[in-house]
Structure formats: C-alpha cells, structure tokens
Amino acid sequence: MATAEHTHEHVHYTATGLDNRKIAIWAFIGSECMLFASLISTYLIYKGRSIVGPFPHEAWTSPAGQVFKPILNIPVTSVSTFVLLMSSLAMVLALAAVENRGKPGYVGTALGNSKLWLATTAALGATFLGFQAFEFTSFVHEGLTIRTNLFGSSFFTLTGFHGAHVTVGVLWLMTLLFIDFKRGLTPKDSLIVDICALYWHFVDVVWIAIFTLVYLIK
C-alpha cells in the first residue's frame, strides 16, 4: 500500500519540489517489477516440466486415453489484451480531463469529461476481468486447475496475481469516480488521478509482457 497520506492541508516544503506520493508510487512500481519478475521467471522455468497435462500449447492424451486440447485460447486473450490496452487510453484521457478541467476547448466536450473516461477505464478493466473469469472457468472445465500440474499452478498464480492487481485498480478507479461525482475532481486533484493512472498503466504493461511470454511464445 504505497498510497497513504491523502489530504495535505498545509504547504510542505519538499526537497525536489515533487509530491511525496508520486515518489512513493514509483518506488512501489519498481518493487512490483521484481514481484512480477519472480512470477514470470517461475512460469517460464516450469514451462515444459509438467508431468501430466493439460499443456499450454500442445494437446495431451492422458494414460487413460482422454484427450486434452492445448489449453490457451489465443483469440479470446487477444481481445482481452486489446481491451486492457484501450483502458490505458481511457485512463490518460481521464487524467487529461481532470488536469484541463475548466480550460477552454475542454469544457463541455467529451475530452473534458473525466467521469466518462474514469468510468470507461473501470469498465474496460472490469471487462478484462470478465474475460479472465471466463478463461479460468473454461480451463477448469477443460481439466486444468491450479492443482493439476506445474503449468496450472504457475499459470493461475501468475495471471491471478495480475488479475488481483487489475481488481485493485478497478476499485481504485471507482473510488475516484465516486469522488468525482461527489465533489468533482479539479486540476488540484490531478495528482491523485495521476498516481492511480501510473498504477493502472503499470498493470497494463505487465500484461503486455505476460501476453507475449505466456500466450504467444511456445
């Protein structure tokens, strides 16, 4: 939890002129790099080491003669990847809308509508989660659970951790949206939106890596 102290009523001198919270979130993101590095390494190390199927890219026939198809569903995941990428676009627009609130050219336009973009971001994030839920349940139906084999354990844990990050992000976005409805986010609040955005994009960036390393590369 790198997001802590919210309301600074007083003017505090800072050595760099930057806000504490923004420094903390970047340090946090740096730390997250190592977190996902460990998860991704594990997935890659265990790839191809499962004794029993199902496997990510190859079909598998169990000793009992049951046939399992390759488990990963590239088309569906491509769509959900696209959804997540677009949520990042919505996120930058939300931040821009807050920063430019009240500026000519923004007032009354869609681009100036922070609520719209926050809601879109959250909705796209939720859509991504929906895809993930679909993916997980279909895998379970096809015979892969987190207990099945090394692939199942490392796959579900890796993508599950990512999904948990998305979930936190969606809740965060909805909190911002709530504040926006309650009192309206103004340029003064752009920092708290910015921090959320940084987190959100980072989660997106992690997915970019996962999509390639887990789904596309055999």
Binding site: E5, H6, T7, N20, S31, E32, L35, A37, S38, R147
Partner: protein
C-alpha cells in the same frame, strides 16, 4: 541540559508527542516514538534470540547430550536465525532509520507518518505471531531458509511451517511499507541545502538499504506465496511428485537472501561512519568513495546469490561466474575498511564506548569478510558449506559487524534519545565482555567446521575432535550472556539515572546534534539551511571543515520552509505555540495491521480442518483491514 520535554502541551489540540502514558504510544505517529518502540521491541527479540542461542550452545557443549530434544533443537536454531535476522537486527536498524533519518536530513517527520506507525505495528504483531509457537513446541523447524521440499506439507505436516510462512509474509509487508516511506523521506524531506552528497553517511547507507528492501523482498514474497498456496490450496510448486524443482525455492530465496545480508550490515556501516569521525575529530575520509562503495555493494549484492548454492551442482560455468562476482564485493567493502582506518588516522581519538564498538566492528567484520572470500572460492566452499565454518563466517559479520555497529549506535545515540548518557564504566565492561566472549564463541567454530562438524545438528558423537571447540564456544556464549545483562542494566538504569546530556552530546557535526536531547516533537523549530556536510562543525569548529565544499548563500534564498541558518536550538516551546502543524495521533494503522495478522492467522484453522471457522476469521480480518485502511486514508493527517 535541563530536560526539555517537561513543558506540558498547553492548548495544543493534538500535541501528543510530549505526553506520556500507554495511549500516547499506541496512537503515536511521531517517528521518534516509533523509533523508540522499534528499539525496545527489537532489543527484546534480541534477548529472546540470544536465549535461544544459549540453549543451542548448552546442548552442544558436550557430545551426545540430551538437554533438549532433536525436534526442539530444530525449532531453536530455526527461530534463532529467524528471530535474529527478521526480528532483531532488521528492526534495530529500523529503529535508527526512524529515529535518525528525519533528524539527520533536517525534517520534521517522515514522508508518511501513519504508514510508519503501520510498519511498526505489523512488525510487532508479526513478531508475536511467529514467536509464540515456540512456547508450545510447535515453532517453525525448517531452518531460517526453509528449503523446499522439506517445508512442504508432505514432509512437514504440522503447523510449524505455517507460522513461518505467514510470519515472514507479514514481516515482509512491514519492511516494504517502511522502505517506500524512507525512500520518499530521504528523497523529498531533506532540508534546504541538504544535497544528496551532503547527507550523513548513516542516511546514505540507509537509503541504499531501502532500495535493497524494495527489490529483495518481492522474490521471497513470491517464494512464500508459492509455499503457502502449496500448503493450503494444493498447488504443486514444490510438490516432488509433480516434478517440481527444489532449486526454484533456493534461487528465489537467495535472490532475496544475499541482498538481505547487506540489508543487515549497511546500517551498521552507516552508524560506524558517524561514530568514527566524531571521536577522531575528523570528517569521514573519502566521503564520495564511501557513498559509491555502498552503492556498489548493494548493486553487486543482486548478482551473487548462487554462492549459497555451490554444493548444489549448478554446473561449472555458473559456479565460476558466481564465484568471481562474489569476490568482487570484497573490493568496495575493503575500501570502506581502509577509509575508516584513514578516518582515524591523524585524528584525536577518544575511546568512548561507542568508539570502542565502532573499532570493534572494523576489527571483527574484517575477519568475517575474509572467511566470506574463502567461501566464494567454490571448490573450497564444498568443504566449508553447511559446516560450522559458515556459522563462524556469518556470526563474525552479523555479530562482529551488525550487532557491534548497532550497539555502538545505541551508546552513541542514547543521549539524543533519552537526554542522558549511558554509563561509560558499564559500557566498557559490556564491550570487553562482548569482544572476548564473541571471539571465544565464534572463533573456534572455524576449527570445528574445517574439522568436519556439520551445522544444524542437535548432537554429535564423542571422539570426533570437536569437543574442545564446542566447549569453548559454549563458555564464550556464557560471557556473551553476562555482557548482554550488563548492557541491559546499563540501558535501563541510564534512562532515568544517567548523566544529563546536552544537545550536542559528543561534539559531532551533523544536524541531529543541533536540537535538544531528547528532541521536541517537531524536531526543528526552524528548518536549517545546510551549506556543507558537517553543518554543526561549520558552526562550532570551522577549522575542521574548512577544506570541505560549502555552498554559497544562494541556498539561503529558499523561503518557503521558513528556513534559517544552522544554529543550536533550545526548544522549550510546543508545536502549537510555534504554529507547527503536527499529525494527529491515530490507531487506524494499528487496526489495519491487526486486520492483516488476523487475516493470515485465520488460515491456520484450515489445517485443523475447520474450514468455516478459518474463512470467518480470515474474512473478518480482511474486513478489519479494508475498513481501517479506508478510515485511515479518508481522515486528515494533521
């Protein structure tokens, strides 16, 4: 020298820091109080870990003894290692981070005071969580690095390992939260003119440590998550029947574990770098090189982990690469040793207790460093690893290094924290008993190790040539127990009865000595503008810093901070009188921490086959966590 804390907080709505009583400690968000809490808690755990060590030594004093059972012995060394590393040395360092960093950089508090309180409470509760089982003989028993598959449910069915997995997970949260806090604090809360290259060496080393924490804890977090999932949810990460590779755990653990040892030593290096100049009456020799060597140590520390795995069979190429990378670390560390000696060289050395401990660190750490280099030679290490030679190595660096440095730091900063000096006489006793006892305990371990004694054995056979070394080690430990008791007496007595200390207890040169002892809750009534590395010496002994770089008056133009030139403060006013906003005391971080611990604790019941109860408790904990976090984030800081 009059105590300054006596003025009651008149009219200040939440000027809690000068209050006393239980509540003022539980709800505190003042970095100094949190630092003090860390100090007391960690010292307690040090005694506890030492007691475990003493039992270990008693059991090993003679061959084929049955003082404790094999099972209990295994819990003892596991908890001794875990306690010393995670509950004693790291939090002792954290005590200094908390207390000193804001004072050294001229700040009124850390960046996130409530996050700071949160870190402490998580540490305390996590520490209790992992320690209590030993009273019921169900303490963790997998060794402090808990190698899989021994720690999987297949081979460790009881709850012992559960406590360990969750306990470390909880403690990791504390360390990470604190690290983000201090990174931000050091980057952002420095007083005007306090450039990075003017920061006191302790702050610098701590700064590096925070990065090590931020980068080293995620891998162990993940390794522990895997183990936790394996134990509770049936995943296969370390399940041998599924074809799991036990080296996965080892690599993830040591990717954390090696940086961790620098996390343990660098703060002590920092403290020594404050003490030696002070009592040599000379600025630190080669400040820049000291900074860079610290950075180098931290950076290289991420590329050497497999030197803990030289017997694992990684292949010749990997062994060779990691051996050479490990050796490289001797270079920056050597630079530090020589720069410290050069700091003393030409000085006017007074042998106060802190100085004795600092010199002790230089002398003893070197021995541990040299045996470290002997380990790094992979083929030679195949005769050393998992023997008492390793135990000798790491106690020389940990006790001779970290603990010596930290004791030095306690003697040095005690006057600042409590406004009184510790007794020099008892301090001298403590030092010499410690020094002699330490060498008597750990030097013979070099021999017992090279003469074939494996580590982690609860007993050994007679006639193996190890008896006299083990007996010597045990006698040495008895001296350490006495030494530690002398320290405890000195510490407790001096808090009330020590000689009163002025602002500047030792004639040191850094900012923390310019304010009253103990400091008022707001630290600096006026934020000082710093123009050199030793601002207080600039003020009092300009001749000492004449050759150092100083900045011109332009730094003085910063006005927002109501900054003034460095001066000695005599704070007799409250924050309210000075109009300094202080953060509200709050227990929300405490409840957030409690939520986390309950959340983990609930899972334990799953292994008692009480699934519904487990889920209820865990969800209850999660609710408490989210609720208090929400309350915390939505309530104003000050």
């Amino acid at each position: 020298m009059a105590t300054t804390a006596a003025i009651p907080a008149t009219g200040a709505a939440h000027d809690a820091s000068s209050e006393s009583g239980l509540w003022s400690w539980i709800a505190t968000v003042d970095h100094k109080r949190i630092g003090t809490l860390y100090l007391f808690t960690a010292l307690f755990f040090f005694l506890f870990g030492g007691l475990e060590a003493f039992l270990i030594r008693l059991q090993l004093a003679q061959p084929n003894q049955h003082l404790v059972s094999a099972e209990f012995y295994n819990q003892l060394f596991t908890m001794h290692g875990t306690t010393m590393v995670f509950l004693a040395v790291m939090p002792l360092s954290a005590a200094f981070f908390n207390y000193l960093i804001p004072l050294q950089i001229g700040a009124r508090d850390v960046a996130f005071p409530r996050l700071n309180a949160f870190s402490y409470w998580v540490y305390l509760l996590g520490g209790i969580f992992i320690t209590v089982p030993i009273f019921f003989q169900v303490a963790p028993n997998g060794g402090w690095f808990g190698y899989a598959p021994l720690t999987t449910i297949q081979f460790s069915g009881g709850m012992n390992i559960d406590f360990w997995v969750m306990g470390l997970q909880i403690l990791g949260i504390s360390s990470l939260a604190a690290a983000f806090n201090f990174i931000t604090t050091i980057i952002n809360m420095r007083a005007p003119g306090m450039t990075l290259m003017r920061m006191p060496m302790f702050t610098w080393m701590s700064f590096i440590v925070q990065f090590l924490l931020v980068l080293a804890f995620p891998p162990i977090t993940i390794a522990l998550v895997f183990l936790l999932f394996d134990r509770f949810f049936g995943t296969q990460f370390y399940a041998i029947a599924a074809g799991a590779d036990p080296l996965l755990w080892q690599h993830l653990f040591w990717v954390f574990g090696h940086p961790e040892v620098y996390i343990l030593i660098l703060p002590a290096f920092g403290l020594v770098s404050e003490i030696l100049p002070t009592f040599s009456k000379k600025p630190l020799f080669g400040y820049h090189v000291m900074v860079y060597s610290g950075i180098m140590i931290g950076f290289l520390g991420f590329g050497v982990w497999a030197h803990h795995m030289f017997a694992v069979g990684l292949g010749a190429t990997a062994d060779a690469i990691f051996a050479m990378a490990t050796m490289l670390i001797a270079i920056p560390t050597g630079v530090k040793i020589f720069n410290w000696i050069a700091t003393i060289w030409g000085g006017e050395v007074t042998f106060t207790t802190p100085m004795k401990f600092a010199i002790g660190l230089v002398a003893l750490f070197t021995i541990g460093g040299i045996s470290g280099v002997m380990h790094s030679s992979a083929p030679a290490d195949t005769q050393q690893t998992d023997t008492y030679f390793v135990v000798a190595h790491f106690h020389y660096v940990l006790f001779g290094g970290s603990i010596m440095g930290i004791f030095g730091g306690i003697y040095h900063y005690f006057p600042k924290m409590f406004g009184r000096y510790m007794s020099e006489k008892l301090g001298t006793w403590h030092f010499w008993l410690n020094f002699v006892g330490m060498n008597l305990t750990f030097f013979p371990m070099h021999f017992s190790g090279l003469l074939g004694m494996p580590r982690r054995i609860y007993t050994y056979d007679a006639g193996q040539g190890w008896e006299k070394f083990n007996l010597a080690s045990t006698i040495g430990t008895a001296l350490l127990v006495i030494a530690t008791l002398v320290f405890v007496i000195n510490f407790l007595k001096s808090r009330k009865g020590g000689a009163p200390a002025p602002n500047d207890a030792w004639g040191a040169g850094t900012l923390e000595w310019s304010i009253p002892s103990p400091p008022p809750d707001y630290n600096f009534a006026e934020i000082p503008v710093v123009t050199s590395r030793y601002p207080l010496w600039d003020l009092k002994h300009p001749e000492m810093t004449a050759d150092l770089a100083h900045s011109g008056p332009d730094a003085m133009t910063i006005t927002d901070a109501h900054a003034t030139p460095v001066h000695e403060e005599t704070g007799h006013k409250t924050a309210a009188e000075l109009g300094i906003p202080m953060p509200f005391p709050t227990v929300k971080p405490l409840f957030t921490a409690l939520g986390i611990v309950i959340m983990f604790g609930g899972l334990l019941f799953m292994h008692l086959d009480k699934f519904a109860l487990a889920m209820t408790i865990t969800l209850g904990g999660a609710t408490l966590l989210v609720g208090s976090l929400y309350a915390w984030l939505t309530s104003p800081l000050e």
